[in-house]
Every structure is written in C-alpha cells, then in structure tokens.
Symmetry: C2
Subunit: 331 residues, 2 copies
C-alpha cells in the first residue's frame, strides 16, 4: 500500500508525544499515515472537515484527571463539530524521563543529590518519596521544561532532586525536549519520554520519575462517520475487548430542583452503569454547566434497547443533550 | 480592637490577588487581620493547624471551570485536613487588565493594533471579538505573564492584540504584575487586576480585557469548628442571603453497576437539589474517582431532616463519603 492510499490519523504532536505513542498502539503504521498537529482543536477541525478520517486526543490521566481542553471541544458550544463522535479509546502507560545534558564533572557520589526524601516540614511531615533516583548528577540543572500535566505527575522527584530549579510550562512534553535540545548552556532539562530522548539526542538524567507506577493516560479516537462503525475501519485493538462504552453531553434547566439527579436516574433505570462524570461551564450563564457522562453500553449494539430507552427518557429531562459516540473497549 | 486581638484570615496571596479582593468583601478589615500565603495548600494547613480560624480558597470560575488544586485539598487523600469544613462562599466579579509600561513612542493610530477582530481562518471562520480595545499601543510588548486561568479568560483580546507574543504561566495574576514591575526592557506585560496596577505602579494598557462580562470567581471560606456555626463568627455578608448549600465528597465501588447513580438518587429522594458535581482521580486505583457534590440544604438547619435522611442512605451506597460543610449563601 503506498503512502497515497493510506488514510491519515491526526493527533497532538510534535513527534514523540504521548499522543504519538497512543497512535502507534491503535493505528498500524502500515495502514495509516501519522499526521501530528499543533493543538487539540486542530484534531477536531481536521476530523470535522474530513481532512483526516480519524483523530486522537488525550482525555484523562489517572493521576492528574481530565483534560479540560478536550472537554471544551466535545462541549462544542458553537456547533463547530456537529459530526464528530468518539469511536474508541486507547490507554498508554506514561513513564516520564528527565532529559538534558550530563554535567561535565559528573559525580553522583558528592552527596548533594539528597537522601531521596523531600525535607519534612511542620505542614507536611511525611512528604512522598520519589520512586527513582537520578541516573546522573543534577547539580547543574537550572531550568526544567514540561507540560503542566507532567509536572503534576512528577511532584516527588521534582521536590526532592530539583528543589529551587526554575519551572517552565510548555505546550507538550515533546516540545520541552525540543527546547532543551537547543540549549547551549547545558543547564536545562525536560520532563519527556524516552522516545523524545532518542529523537532529540538528549541524555537520560532520570527514568520513570513519575510519582505512581500506575500512571496511565486515556486517549479518545474521534471520527466523523455517524453510521454504525464498520469493524476494522477505525482500527482498534481487537484482543481483549471486554465491553462497550458511550458518551453523552447534557445540560439541565438551571432553576429546576433535582433536574441533574433526574437526568442521571435515566441511566440507572435502564441499568446503564455510569463510568465517568465531568462538567464544564456551559457559558450560557455563570455557574450553569455542561455535563459529560460515560456509561457502559453501545447505541448500535443494544439488543435490549437499554441505550435507546435511556435516551428517550433523557429527552424529557435534559435541556439539551447529545450523543457523543459509542465504542468497544478493552477495559 | 488592636491588631493582636484580631482574628486572622489566610488566603492565596500575594497582596492584590483576586483572593485578596474576596477576603475584603467577606471579612471586614476592622475585625480581621489579612494573612496572604503562597499556596492553596498553605491555606488548608494553616486552618487545620489552627494558626488562622478562617481561610479563603478559589473554587471555580464561571468561564474557566473548577480549580483542581482546591478539589485535591478537599479530597484530603492522606487525611491531613480532618477538621476543615466549608463555612461560606464569596463571589468576585473578575475584571482583568493588561499592565505594563507604555511605549515611549506611543501612537494608537498607526494601524498596527488591528481591526479588533481575530484573523478568520478556514478552521475558525468567526473567531470571537474582544470586548475592549487597548488603551495604548501594544506593538512593543514581547512577553505576557499571567496565571493560566486568566489567560483562559482573555482569549479574544490576546489572539487579537497580542498575536505571536510569548506567553509565560506564573502562579498568580498578582505575581505576574510583580514580575513585570521588575522589567527593565519595557516590553513585558501582565494580565492582572487594577489593584495590582496601583500597588506595582504599572501603566494600564488595557482594561476589562476578559472575554465575557459575566466573568465571576467563586471562593470558599474554610474553617475548622465542626459545631453549628455561630452567626457572626465567620463573617458573611448578611444581606441578600437566599439559601443554604452543603458539600460532600464520596467514592463508590469501582465494579458495582449503577453505584454512582444510586448515590446521586439519595439526594433526589429527599428533594435536595444538586448544584454542582466535580470529580478527581481517587488515586486508589486508575480511573476510580472521588466525587464532590454540592446541594441546596444545611446539615444544622434541617427541620425536615432531609439532609440527615440523605446522609443515612448515602452510608449504604457510598464506599467512602464525608460531609465537607454547610453554609448560608446569597446565591
């Protein structure tokens, strides 16, 4: 199959991002052309405008929580993405590395790397211990670059081994590695992936520096085709699929007592287990929300008409609501 | 009353922060000593340790959504804040200004400030228009500093008048103003408050640059006394109080179908209107959540025993749950 015949999947770049890893897990490189883009909004734009039939966006991290940008695009407050639906999900185990340039006079034994514990204080008498030690001296590091989500996942390592180092938020962990690869002082470091170290020729100063062993990011595959998904069209891992999920967004009348509970009881009534709830400002009026609900069930694989039954009820309770997709999942 | 006799209220500083404004709204300066601290966690620590009887933390913004740091402290995963409860709420209308130094050769008529619209593109044919124009030329601005929440509230102004300017996230809008006050190049600007302009002697380059007129931040007052609040103890605006609210956090068994819906139906059963839902990772296992529910009702002003009735039911449904406070509110 030539590159011209390949379908494209768009994702949050640059190359070596965790999104890139997720794409490699779900879309075989032989069949798909990888198209890294600059923002999550670009992925939605490209899918809505049929430039790519598939896109992949980060949805939540098991340590850090939801990705609000993705929720805001799914909220689609300006009706820009009427045809975009969720078609699948991908889980990526996230292992962060500290990348940079080794110190010229590197000596791990000089005792300055600390004992592997944060300094206990009156207010935090037992700070978390980092899981790993630096692979190399970090005395020379004066700046660290990464995405805010990654900083949030590496608190113990940073507060133990990089105390007082200036922190710079950038748009992605791979961007951080790119910036540090251009450093001529040798004093900058990035929290990024092993893939990024290889791509940018950086030294590995720390490995698996994340706070938790079970640090996982869930990505959503989005597509446009509103019809029943054809198996194999959007490639998903076929092994280990254990169930189905769907997502809806909804708003409820601001001044109606119990409206949200009533909306949620539609799911309970039909035995549809809610697996996540998120909310974002509706921007219709202050402190009015758009809710995102995920539940076990599939609109097009619904022999007992549970999902359709729930949606019929939802029409009477919600102010606005929208089916955002149904998919098969391995979790 | 001397300063020594005053009770202290701790809040997220530095001086001139929006938290500072919120404190001034709710705690009369004659009776209270204002104690700005560095992080939201410091506010919780100080209240738990009885250093201050009251604290104030940002909870959500009407444009940008929840403050996850505050949710994470309320989650109290390590049982550090067993005695801290929510005692009130304060709403602050947020008006952002662009602060910096006026250009030496300042000419608003040179046509480079644009037409007041973002450039329409194929993917965004009708970008939002900013509500206000700069008060002064912005051609010389090369960097803007602010808190990520503030950037998120000023998208239209930034993408219209500050295209291509380098963006720096800092810990607070008031910190941003402080940084810019130390700029010797005259090319940095901060998104911050009018109060911060006055305190740091900065020029006002733009006023009311937020995207929406109804941009409001809600703050929570926290305290430690678990008993029935004595009126006037934690000072709250007494005018215009229209009702009560309470907050609980809860987790539900991961593998129990419908457990979340069942927990929520406890509120519906007793006619308690849910006003907000938030969730954060529980960090017990990946993709298991702690939920935060707010509802109309007060544990200690509960003549029909609705709140107590709901809590009794909740005990049977939730894995863990905790009452986080009840308070009077003007909204």
């Amino acid at each position: 199959m030539t590159s011209q015949q390949k379908k494209a999947v768009s994702f949050l770049g640059p190359a070596a991002s965790y999104s890139h890893q997720a794409v490699r897990q779900a879309f075989p490189e032989n069949d798909w052309e990888y198209n890294p883009v600059v923002t999550i909004g670009d992925v939605f734009d490209i899918v809505q405008d049929s430039v790519s039939p598939a896109g992949l966006v980060p949805f939540e991290n098991s340590t850090n929580g939801s990705v609000v940008f993705t929720l805001d695009y799914l909220a689609d407050r300006n009706d820009r993405y009427p045809d975009v639906t969720v078609r699948g999900e991908v889980y990526v185990d996230v292992h962060h590395c500290l990348l940079g340039h080794k110190a010229l006079n590197h000596n791990l034994e000089d005792g300055t790397e600390g004992s592997g514990t944060c300094t206990p204080t009156a207010t935090d008498p037992s700070p978390p211990r980092p899981r790993t030690k630096p692979l190399s001296s970090l005395k020379h590091i004066q700046r660290i670059y990464s995405h805010p989500q990654a900083f949030g996942q590496c608190n113990a390592f940073i507060s133990t081994y990089l105390k007082g180092v200036e922190v710079f938020d950038v748009s992605s962990t791979s961007k951080a590695a790119e910036i540090v690869s251009g450093d001529t002082t040798g004093t900058w470091a990035a929290i990024s992936s092993q893939l990024a170290a290889e791509m940018h020729g950086l030294d590995m100063l720390g490995r698996n520096i994340e706070d938790r062993t079970d640090n996982t990011t869930r990505f959503l595959i989005i597509g446009k085709d509103p019809e029943i998904p054809r198996e194999g069209d959007l490639t998903m891992p076929s092994h280990g699929q254990v169930g189905t999920k769907s997502m809806v967004s909804l708003t409820v009348p601001h001044d109606s007592p119990g409206a949200l509970a009533k909306a949620l009881s539609c799911f309970e009534e039909f035995g549809l287990n809610l697996t996540s709830i998120n909310s974002r400002p509706s921007l219709v009026q202050p402190f009015h929300y758009i809710f995102f609900l995920e539940f076990r069930g599939h609109l097009y694989d619904d022999p007992e008409a549970k999902v359709r039954g729930c949606f019929e009820k939802l029409k009477n309770v919600a102010e606005n609501w929208r089916w955002l997709g149904s998919w098969r999942t391995c979790r």
